[in-house]
């Protein structure tokens, strides 16, 4: 499978974006830090699961259809 290192490195941007988006979004919804961090973790998890599901779907489509 052709998967150059540069292409793989692109995905390293994902965790950065997920963390920043979750933390900033949560900080605009809550005032105290424990609530912000809890909500950020939940949003990070939701976004990661969503992206993994999309990735699996695309992989299945590419591989078997």
């Amino acid at each position: 499978m052709h998967f150059p290192l540069a292409a793989a490195a692109l995905y390293l941007h994902l965790p950065i974006l997920i963390v920043i988006v979750s933390v900033v979004y949560s900080a605009t919804r809550y005032e105290d830090w424990p609530a912000i961090l809890r909500e950020a973790f939940r949003w990070g998890l939701r976004m990661s699961i969503f992206l993994v599901v999309i990735a699996v779907l695309l992989f299945v489509l590419a591989k078997f259809i």
């Binding site: 974006l17 979004y25 809550y30």
Partner: protein, 201 residues
Amino acid sequence: MTSGTVTNPPPEPRLYSPLAAFLSYLVPGLGQISQGRIGKGVLFIVCLYGLFFCGMAMGGWQNVYIAQTAKDGTEEPAWENNSLHLPKPVANLWNRLHFVGQFWIGAAAWPAIWQYNDLPVPSEQTSPFLHKFQRAPTPKEENEINEAYGKVPDIAWVYTVIAGVLNILVIYDALAGPALAAAPDPAKRPAAPAAQEAAPV
């Protein structure tokens, strides 16, 4: 009322702070800092400026710009790249929507407006960086950036747009406080009249 149930007091009306909102538009988090919410302000400034400037650096400092692509009825060819016959600045934004998101980062995106209006900038010989800073690249420059960095410029503008759009939430936080205010502490809640009435004498 003698039901014995404790009723919650009505929520306090939100106090709006337009000045803090404007400060948070200028610099992300500045409004929160002016309100004494230092930690959140610093979080916003670090995260959003970090995202925005990293994105600009990855894009060769030329991915936050308004491109001169549209023509109006007075130019030849008339209405080129402007099939909706919009005013020229609106059509230019419509043709490259990135700046509509990037604009909300505040003062950090103003050089793009400066460059779009062809206002004076240092010459290329004096300061090549400032000369090109947030200026729309020529097709040749765009090709060079894409050839040199591959897909990174595409990720780069995503960074800048996400930073700008997130700052809209930060501006609202400065204007009206957090979207979901914490529930009042029951220990600090004043005793409700109903509870006092129900208590045995």
